[in-house]
């Protein structure tokens, strides 16, 4: 058995709790659509169904061990980068450059699977970020050069560098020993903690915004986001982070609270930063891969900010 349920008791418990919560949401969805026939609940139901699939895949990866988790995030990076390149304007002369950009994905995740932290942390921001403009110069086209460099760099940052921190979380050593690729350790608990809180933060901000929201916070970027939603969401996430800290992380309660508040704020920033890109291009969703949610970037946007920040806080203080 790859997954030792005994030593991973906390992860299993939290996961069961999560599935119970999702079941409750599913039942509420049914009840709403049965009692209130005038309103169309298709999107809500699609959303909940997609959650089942996403949580299912995520849970399966955790059970199968770190190697499978790393491969899953490599695949997510690939789809996210493809989605990014498909929605942003790219130049025909940069076709070969885009090919190199895709090649960073297997390399970046290879460093992770071998636990090579030094390479993992500089590969994208140093080597890839220097190589890409160099390769573009070779192509010889200067029209829109700066925009094209910025476009590819931010794409790699969002979809490869930040998301790969999620995969490195499961590789963090357990009790000072190197993490094996087949057996989940403490990192799996940290990954669950971060992903769950970031996603719940999105939901909490949305729900608080629906209930109390009156003051728009970023009207030019995301008109539905309100100050009340943000505050309600951040507090909810902070409280949850405080409760779960002892179970899933090496933190004590007040540290968990602080980190939770940070996740809430960073998640919001990640969300609006993708919204700004979409607004700039003039589209609503980044894609349509996940029914009810939009594209894969629409779901991962908050994680692009919370993942690297959470990772480095954990690594600095505890590993």
């Amino acid at each position: 058995m790859l997954f030792d349920f005994e030593s991973m008791r906390a992860v299993t418990q939290v996961f069961v709790f999560l599935l119970a919560g999702l079941s409750l949401a599913t039942v509420i969805g049914w009840v709403l659509s049965l009692t209130n026939k005038q309103k169309d609940y298709t999107e809500l139901k699609q959303r909940i169904n997609s959650w089942w699939i996403m949580i299912g895949i995520f849970g399966l990866a955790l059970v199968m061990g770190p190697l499978v988790t790393v491969l899953l995030f490599a695949m997510l990076s690939f789809i996210a980068l493809k989605e990014y390149f498909s929605m942003t304007p790219t130049r025909l002369v940069d076709r070969k450059v885009l090919f190199w950009a895709y090649l960073t994905i297997p390399l970046q995740y290879y460093w992770i699977a071998t636990g090579w932290y030094g390479m993992f942390i500089i590969f994208i921001p140093v080597y890839a970020f220097l190589f890409i403009p160099f390769r573009m110069v070779l192509a010889g086209e200067t029209k829109n050069y700066l925009r094209a460099v910025g476009n590819i760099h931010w794409g790699l940052m969002l979809t490869v560098f930040t998301l790969s921190h999620l995969a490195y979380l499961v590789m963090l050593p357990s009790e000072g020993e190197y993490q094996s690729l087949t057996m989940s350790g403490d990192g799996a608990a940290l990954l669950l903690y971060l992903v769950m809180l970031t996603q719940l933060n999105d939901v909490a901000q949305y729900v608080w915004g629906k209930i109390l929201g009156t003051t728009p916070i970023a009207p030019t970027i995301s008109p539905n986001k309100t100050r009340e939603g943000l505050i309600g969401g951040v507090i909810t996430t902070g409280v949850l982070a405080m409760i779960l800290a002892g179970l899933l992380t090496p933190m004590i309660w007040w540290q968990g609270l602080l980190v939770g508040l940070g996740i809430g704020i960073a998640g919001f920033i990640g969300d609006v930063s993708l919204s700004a890109i979409k607004r700039d291009i003039g589209i609503k969703d980044s894609g349509q891969l996940i029914p009810g949610h939009g594209g894969i970037l629409d779901r991962l946007d908050s994680l692009t900010f919370t993942a690297p920040l959470f990772f480095h806080v954990m690594r600095y203080f505890y590993f």
């Binding site: 130049r91 076709r95 070969k96």
Partner: protein, 216 residues
Amino acid sequence: MKYINLALRWLFFAVIIKPIVKIVIGLRYQNTPILPKDGPAILIANHNSHLDTMVLISLLPLNILHKVKPVAAADYFLKNKFLAWFALNIIGILPIERQGKDKSVNPIEQCAKALDSGKILIFFPEGSRGEPEKMTDLKYGVVKLAERCPNVPLYPIYMHGLGKTLPKGDALFVPFFCDVVFSEPMTYEANSEGFYENVKTRFATLQDSVKLPKWD
């Protein structure tokens, strides 16, 4: 030999092409797919890339694969032995002579014969592949073919993104999402008045419905 080739064709699409189209390219339907369930029928689509044919074939279910015949230029695809075997048996093309070459065989008659035997043709009304994400003027072949087979339904399909993934004259494959839009089938019988313009309008409408960035 015929059955071995058929099996190879099936395997090629089931094991290689369908997964590539689904996972590496990632097909996105912009509306509900409108596709023929059986032949005779003609899929007409814009043409930017060799991948167009692959994507169109993989849109159709595998159980009618043996009926699908992309109409392609004989001089291009039959120029050497291996390519000819691959094009005829694996892709399953219907090779036609381009205008002015050999007057004894009429390409429209070749297509009509295939349609009479219940085939599903894949026809690119622009002729050869154009620049990425730009449609060139349609040739008159599609009108002649529709005129010859007035009851056969034509299914206009517009594809976006493949010209970026594998443009003409480039061998490097760079993945982009491919977006596909479908339009209601049309027959010559019902649209004979200004058929050429009708087809053009259909494609223009389909093209407008895809709001995605083009190459700079």
